[in-house]
Symmetry: C2
Subunit: 311 residues, 2 copies
């Protein structure tokens, strides 16, 4: 299976530069720095992969429009990217997705189709066929992975001596790209994935040496609604090749990280976006001097955010 290369990621960086924020590294304490991807236009790193995937489509194909399925941030990212290119977007969203993410997707001008969680992928494929539009998958595509990999490229540019990069894991698009970039540019650095203990299928898969499937009902227990997907063969191949370890965090550790990110880093972060910082804070002494945590997103219902801050 062909893996994404550093050349793919460098090419992606050039293509996405017009719309993606070059996020700085923010010092959190003496050993941890943050890569604040919640500051992207759609509030998450997903704009990198989605915009890159659209940028790589032949112009005539792109003009017919795009379809995506997503629990939230990828939906917004595809909607935003389609708007930038002036092409129509249809987003298939599970009915239980956070209201704030659905509203934001509509605000970017996309048509939103709500379906039961289990049907979202099949319905998106149907829509793409019916309408002759292109499906932009949330992670299972080399162009998406290469786009997300620009996060890793920037981390090493800004911290050439980085020791560890902590990355949230869901479908694995982000960590696949980040790990491909980091291992190419700074082989001595470790890349460590982080999952909620309630959705730790990738951690179990990495230990088992093969994809282990968890029932969706299990994965839906976590408050980190962006981390309920499972790796594909393509992302798992990247994880097996480039990722050193995947660790897990509890729901309480995630909530605590959300609060610490507000108070100490002045960042509004959704639970999914806070897991890498949660892994650091759970045992700060464990991590080396130059640790970077990817803060992957910040889209959270105001009421849910207030509840987290008040707890």
């Amino acid at each position: 299976m062909a893996l994404v290369t550093i050349s793919d990621i460098r090419a992606a960086a050039a293509l996405i530069a017009p719309v993606v924020v070059r996020t700085p590294l923010l010092r959190f304490d003496d050993r941890l720095s943050l890569k604040p991807e919640n500051l992207q236009p759609v509030g998450a790193f997903k704009i990198r992969g989605a915009y890159h995937a659209l940028a790589r489509l032949p112009e005539q194909q792109r003009a017919r429009g795009v379809v995506a399925y997503s629990s939230g941030n990828h939906a917004q990212a595809v909607a935003f990217a389609a708007r930038e290119f002036g092409v129509p977007a249809t987003i298939v969203v599970p009915e239980n997705a956070p209201e704030v993410k659905i509203a934001a997707t509509r605000a970017w001008g996309a048509e939103v189709v709500l379906v039961p969680m289990a049907q979202r992928e099949s319905r998106a494929h149907e829509l793409a066929e019916e309408r002759g539009t292109t499906l932009i998958p949330p992670f299972d595509h080399p162009d998406v992975i290469a786009g997300q990999g620009t996060v890793g490229l920037e981390v090493v540019e800004d911290a050439p001596a980085v020791d560890v990069v902590l990355v949230p894991v869901s479908g694995g698009g982000l960590i696949s790209g980040v790990a491909a970039a980091v291992k190419a540019l700074r082989p001595a650095a470790r890349v460590v994935g982080v999952e909620p203990a309630f959705a730790a299928d990738a951690a179990e898969s990495l230990r088992a040496g093969e994809l282990v499937r968890w029932p969706a009902a299990d994965r839906e227990r976590t408050s980190a609604d962006g981390l309920r997907a499972e790796p594909s063969d393509l992302t798992f191949a990247h994880i097996q090749t480039f990722v050193d370890d995947i660790v897990t965090v509890t729901e309480e550790q995630i909530a605590d990280a959300v609060r610490r990110l507000a108070g100490r880093a002045r960042l509004v972060v959704e639970p999914s976006g806070a897991v890498a910082v949660a892994a650091y804070l759970a045992d700060a002494e464990r991590w080396p001097q130059r640790t970077v945590a990817v803060v992957s997103g910040g889209n959270i219902d105001p009421a849910a955010y207030l509840r987290l801050l008040s707890a």
Copy 2:
């Protein structure tokens, strides 16, 4: 009176680069971008001026230590900068300053001396004399102004066609530097200050053509605790020369801006840091296509922040 020049500001940019975050511009909506200075190491732009002032001291003088008086963010900035240089810092803080700012100042290793608001300046001068250390003023110094001016330099670098820059005004150090930079690099752009209506002494002074003093008790009515200082002759000279207008915002507009910055920009911002965005939101149609608002700081007590978000 000699005003700070663009050469001073460029020189400052080189000196502060090792510790200051090169904050990106963040798109807020189709016409407004944010300059998020709440992401600096001390949570405010103040690190730019304070670090620059220390960097410019002769090494032997700096080694004896520094003293500062401040309602908060300048205190943390001087404490942080002194720690970077490995020299002692003493900070004179008014007794009514937010607890979070006092704690953060101590956390950077500074000695904190609490005094009644009216005595903070005189006590700082006394301490500097007694101990033979150097007073780093919060705004009334060319090195501090030049450091803050790097905000304006970066704004024009990232948005060369900017039409308006909205900047919070308190003692005037930030707007003096920003306006000096913007008018040198992009004379067609307007620089507009923003004050709380409850502390609008600089707005009144600009209209009057001379410094008009407001009683401290009046200025203390605003929730924007970082905007209660008044301009000096030096900063007012910059304001008269470079600033096009100063507008005011209400307490309710400030609170609303704090909430919108959390929900839409994923930034934790203190009331003082939100006034420029408040001025934009108060009448968005009034501002031209390419408006930039400086989000100056994000240090707010967690309880006070929760109250604001809940309102």
